[in-house]
Each structure stands twice: as C-alpha cells, then as structure tokens.
C-alpha cells in the first residue's frame, strides 16, 4: 500500500516536471519570438498586407463620393459604370439571395435592413433567400439550389472568398450576379459592392490613436482572431501607422470577441503597466468591456476606438469619452437590393461599387445615439427612415 502511494507520488512529480518543462520551454521560444516582433524593424510584412491596396484605400477615404450625400448607400467612390441593358426584364422580378449566414449581430442588422429594402420595391414579386449558416459547403449548394428556382438575378454575400468563387462563376453563366461584403476572385459578377475596406477602417482608428495619445504613451491593440483577411487588413494598416508614428504598442491580443476575455486581458495589462494611454480595437462589439476594465480598476478611460454599436456609442456619449468609431456600414445590404433593381431595369451600375465608410466622431455622435435600440444595433444602417423602424430592428418606439 505504501509502495503504491510512493509510486503514485513519484509519478505525479514526474508529470508536474514534464508540464512545467513544456510550459517553460514553449514560453522561452515564444518569448524570443515576441522579443523580435516587439521591435518594428524586425517585423516581416504580414502575408495579408498589400501595399498598393493599402494606398488605394487610404486615397479613397479622401475622395468625395458621387451620389446623394444624405443617402450614402447610393453613393459610389470613383465609379466606372457598366451597361446592363442586356439584363433588362419586365417586372415582377424574382430576386434571389445567398447569404453567408447570420452568425453575428452585424449581419443580423444588415439582413433586417435588406428585407426592409425589398419591401420598398413593388417590382420585386418574389424574394428568395437561403442562409449558408457560415459553412462554405452549405452556401455552395444554396447557390446551386437557387439556380434551379428561376431567379432573375442572384445576390451573393460570400462566406469565404476562395471557396465561393467557383459557385459564383457557375451562376454568372446563367443569370446576372451581384456580390457584396466579402469578394470573390472573379470579375464575372455585374457589380461588386463593398465599403472602402479594412485598411481604411484600421487606419481611421489608428490615426485617432496617434493624434490623441501623448508621445511615448502605451497602446494596447485588441483583435478578434488571427488569419481572417477582413480583420488582418485592419490590423496591418494600424501597424503601419503606429510604426510610422513611433507608438509604443505594448501588446496585440486576440479576444475571440468574448467580452469576459477582453475584460480579463485589459485587466492583466493594467496590472502589468499601471495604466494604458490608448486602446485600439479592430471591431467594436467588445469596446464597452474594455472601457469597464478601466472603470473597475478605478482608472480614467484613455482614448479608445470602437464601432457603431449602440452600447459603445451610448457609453461614449454618457461618459464623455475620447473615442472614435470607424464603421463598416450595414447600409451596404440596402445597396445590394437597389443594385439588383437597377440591373433588372437596364440602368448602369458601377462595376466595382465602392461605398463610403463614414466615421463617427465627437462632432456627429449625437446623430447616431439611439437609446431605444438594442445594444448591438449598428447605427450606420441607413435604416432609420425605413418602414417598420425601430421595431423590426429590435427597438422600441421612443
């Protein structure tokens, strides 16, 4: 009995040493890797970074878009128009939509807005939409299904660029196709609708940090997850601007978009550094959790970036924070339907329909705060004057 107990104890000690060794070992290699990445000069360019596209987007931010200023979803930046007379058809139309999925509140707000836009067009006799549930293979089979349903036009919001390209090419051979949000690597769609892009988003937030954080200030960057192109562009643009300005980025952490994790991570950094002088975020759904980490530590909230979610905008307004909200506007879901009606009427559309990407600042914050809306309602939806607002978007009439 004693012998077994002793053996057990030795086995545990051995296991412990192994565990400690494994953790320490990986820690050392990673520590070394971190030491390298911490100095900007040694950083190799991100495989996601494309200098030409970065410069194009930074330029597009400065261009005055064509179209009505009070309806940004109809605006286009430096458009080249294509003729669509060949697609002209008599109403009623059958418009079809293959959605990547409804896996986040941004897409929920967009989808609600899109349905409301369909309601504004009596010429659309039938609107068929299939939900890809965030799975490439589901969305590919959705596209095939829709092609057999007599659609006059197909709108696709691809789940991933590479996987959906063949399906879009297949559809292009049969009916006009409109792609929006994420792109595909073929130019067969009649039009590709998207806001300026991730570099512009990341740069808008980074410039705000560069301009508001005192020199030598410590900045924490919070990112959702690595390897997602639309998010990598945001961070790589910010990284370029931070390096240029000599900002001390004390950490770039992945949060999985989890509020509890954000609060813990920010708390850890506050323990380590005493305080932080700025927080850059690649999206706004967890900005309020980051703000609360400062509040709970009894510290003043430094300049912070977010997005157009109501909870963040309301917190910003009520606490008088120093903040900015670049947007990736949900109003593009309206534009997709409008483009479909234009194509089927034979009207010209921009070949690449680049939408403006408005930024919410202290000056225009009041226009976007709507206390009667749910916390993750994205204010840049262009939906405030649509029928059924605010109830259909989960709000209550004021």
């Amino acid at each position: 009995m004693n012998a077994t107990a002793g053996g057990r104890f030795r086995a545990w000690i051995a296991a412990l040493c192994l565990l400690a060794g494994a953790v320490a070992g990986s820690g050392m290699t990673v520590g070394a890797a971190l030491a390298q990445t911490a100095s900007p000069a040694a950083e190799p360019a991100s495989p996601f970074f494309n200098q030409a596209e970065f410069e194009r987007q930074l330029h597009q931010r400065t261009v005055t878009p064509e179209g009505p200023a009070d309806q940004p979803w109809l605006q286009a930046i430096e458009p080249t128009y294509v003729d669509t007379a060949q697609y002209k058809k008599d109403a009623p139309w059958h418009v079809c939509f293959s959605n990547a999925g409804l896996f986040n509140p941004w897409r929920v707000v967009g989808w609600t807005t899109m349905q409301a836009e369909v309601g504004l067009h009596p010429e659309i006799g039938t609107f068929t939409a299939l939900d890809g549930e965030g799975r490439d293979e589901k969305q590919i089979s959705d596209v095939t299904d829709l092609l057999g349903q007599g659609c006059d036009i197909l709108i696709v919001s691809p789940n991933t660029t590479a996987a959906l390209t063949p399906a879009v090419e297949q559809a292009c051979g049969k009916i006009p196709v409109i792609v929006f949000d994420r792109g595909v690597t073929t130019d067969c769609p009649v039009t590709y609708i998207h806001p300026i892009g991730g570099y512009a988003f990341g740069a808008d937030a980074a410039e705000f940090i560069v301009n508001t954080v005192p020199e030598g200030g410590k900045v924490l960057a919070l990112r959702i997850s690595p390897g997602v192109d639309v998010l990598e562009t945001r961070w790589s643009a910010a990284k370029v601007l931070f390096d240029q300005a000599g900002i001390d980025v004390v950490g770039a952490e992945f949060t999985d978009g989890d509020r509890a994790k954000v609060k813990s991570i920010v708390g850890d950094y506050l323990d380590r550094y005493g305080t932080l002088d700025g927080v850059w975020m690649d999206s706004g759904a967890t900005s309020v959790a980051a703000i609360e980490a400062f509040e709970d530590a009894g510290l003043e909230v430094p300049p912070i970036t977010g997005e157009d979610e109501q909870d963040f905008l309301q917190k910003w307004q009520s606490d008088g924070l120093t903040a900015v909200a670049p947007t990736y506007p949900t109003f593009q879901w309206r534009t997709a339907i409008i483009a479909a009606t234009m194509v089927l009427s034979g009207e010209q559309v921009p070949q690449e329909w680049v939408l403006p990407q408005p930024v919410i600042t202290n000056e225009n914050l009041d226009q976007f705060v709507e206390p009667n809306m749910p916390p993750l309602f994205y204010a840049m939806c262009g939906c405030q004057n649509m029928p059924g607002f605010p109830e259909k978007w989960g709000g209550t009439a004021p």
Partner: protein, 337 residues
C-alpha cells in the same frame, strides 16, 4: 479486487478514521491538483510579479469564480455517474434572458433572478427525469438540451441580443466590498465562491444525500438494493448542476455584460476541471474542493498561456493536450489502485 471507482464508499468519507488521520487522508487524496495549481500560480507570479498583490490575485479569483461554481455543480452529476453538457448554453440562456426580461429596469432585477433560478431548476429536473426515467444516456439528453437552449436563445433574440443588464444585476459579478483592510476591494464573487463552495462541500461530503449520490454513481445496483432511490438522487444532482449554471451565468453576465456568446465552451471547461480534480467520469469518486481547484487550475493555465503570448490556435492546442494528458494520467492512476 475492488477498485476505488466501484466502491460505494465516498473517497474522503473515511468516517471511522480518527480526525487527524482523516484530515491527512483528505490532503493526500487532494494533493496532486493542488500541486499543479501551485506550480501554475508560481509560474504566473514569475512572469508577472504583480500577481502576488492581493488585489491582483483577487481579480484572478473573481474571474475564475463562474467556472469554479460550475465545476462544483458538475461534480454532483459526475459523482452520480452522469454528465451534464447543457451548462454552457444554459449560461448563455441565463445572460440573454436576464437582459431581455429586465431590460435595464432595476426594479425587475430580483423577480427575474428568482425566475432564472426557477428556470434552472426546471431545466435540471428535465435533464434528470429524461435520463433516469426514460433511460436516455445523459450524454444525449444534455447534448439535446444544449441545442434546445442554444436554439431557444438565438430564436428569442434573432441573433442579436436585446435589452440590457442594470447595475443592480451586474454588481454581483463586477463589484465588491470596498475599503477592506490590506486588500482594498473584496469582490462579491469571491465571497459567493466561498459560500457556494462551503454549501457544496457540506451537501456532498456531510449529508446522507451526498453518501447516496456516491453510492448511486459507484454502484447503482448495490445502491438500489440498499434502499437508495437512484433516479431521485441523480435528478437532484442535475438540478444542482443547472442551478450552479444559473449562478455562474449571473456572475458572468455581471462581470462582462450582455453577450450572445457568454458561456461558450463552459461545459468542456467544467468537466475538465472536475476530472483534473480527480473525479472519475464513471462515477462514485470525486471531491468538491479538488474540483474547484481544478477550475482555478484551468483558469491559471489560460492566464499563463495568455501571459506567454501564445497565439490562440496554439493556446487551444496546448490546452487540449494538457487536459487529455491530465485525464489520461488520472485514468492511469485509478487503474494502479
């Protein structure tokens, strides 16, 4: 050769031993997980010396509290020889339902909290009744419940959560007693952790119900023959697990605020914590303090991996590997006995 796993006696219930030996046997039985926890805490402290400050350590405990409470609840089910996979999505449902029902109105906080506990008890009794009365394996019952709750929460919110949590709901997970000598703020979470822990220890290791639970998990046939209503005690264990998820949900919602993905993956963490704490997944063996220490160990592991700056995919892989290794080791150890 009877192994400890199939013995009907609770592992630490050596009531016939004199008190000093009993205490020693408890320490010996629980020691491994505490050594691992200690090693991790030391590693964190080396990496981040601030960690030894009371306020920083308490912040760590506060963060770990929801998981520790969840592990204590899960332990009842595991000891009874079952498993509860529905707790993660129950947490999601609790957070989303609380925000939707309270909708920022502080006057509704207490009635809604009462309702949440009632709902948790109902979910637990459904899990328990289907498992014990209909003979559906708990793996399937609670996996189904996971999907029902997840789908229900999504359906009710349409994918984007509604409403908000007022401050008097969030205090439990967020604030604490101010001005405590030497430590400053004592988080309510930590107090709740201690109280829940004490209740769980008392219930599992000091009552007839606890003994019946160990008996039901260790050898259900022998338990039935000796007069234990096995379905009843098992159902009660599921209810306790669900109620622990309600507590965890209230604390998590308080700590982090409204989120559609609160509680994601919590069932895996809770089960891992329980197993790390030395409980047997085949039932009949386990200790409350050790299970809660298992939860703290997991949380310390997450903190350390984060401090080391590992990218998330590598962190997930390391976490998975460590958990498999720990469970494999526990299984090896129980075969040795």
């Amino acid at each position: 050769m009877t192994s400890a796993a199939s013995s009907t006696a609770p592992e630490w219930g050596e009531d016939r031993l004199p008190p000093r030996q009993r205490a020693w046997s408890a320490i010996r039985g629980a020691a491994p997980i505490f050594l691992v926890l200690l090693a991790l805490l030391v590693a964190i402290a080396i990496r981040n010396p601030n960690f030894t400050e009371p306020s920083v350590f308490l912040a760590f405990l506060k963060r770990a509290t929801p998981l520790a409470i969840l592990a204590a609840g899960q332990l009842f089910v595991v000891v009874a020889g079952e498993i509860d996979l529905s707790v993660g999505s129950l947490i999601t449902a609790v957070v989303v339902a609380a925000a939707g029902l309270i909708d920022g109105d502080p006057a509704k906080t207490w009635p809604v909290i009462a309702l949440l506990f009632l709902g948790g008890a109902v979910v637990g009794s459904i899990n328990g009744s289907i498992t014990t009365r209909l003979g559906v394996p708990s793996f399937i019952t609670t996996l189904g419940m996971l999907l029902v709750l997840q789908g229900g929460a999504l359906l009710a919110t349409g994918g984007s959560p509604r409403g908000s949590l007022p401050d008097n709901f969030r205090v439990f997970g967020r604030r604490g007693f101010e001005g405590v000598p030497a430590i400053g703020q004592l988080p309510y979470s930590v107090v709740i952790l201690v109280v829940v822990g004490a209740l769980a220890v008392a219930l599992l290791h000091r009552t007839t119900f606890g003994k019946q639970l160990f008996a039901a998990g260790g050898n259900p046939r022998a338990a039935t023959l000796s007069g234990v209503d096995v379905p009843r005690v098992r159902t009660f264990a599921f209810m306790l697990s669900a109620i622990s998820a309600v507590v965890a949900g209230i604390l998590l919602g308080g700590f982090a605020g409204l989120s559609q993905n609160a509680g994601e993956g919590a069932e895996f963490q809770a089960i891992s914590a329980v197993v790390l704490g030395g409980a047997s997944l085949s039932g009949g063996r386990g200790g409350t303090i050790a299970a809660m220490a298992g939860a703290l160990t997991l949380e310390a592991l997450f903190t350390l991996l984060n401090l080391l700056g590992l990218p998330k995919p590598l962190r997930d892989a390391v976490q998975g590997a460590i958990i498999i290794a720990a469970v494999a080791f526990a299984a090896y150890r129980s075969r040795q006995r």
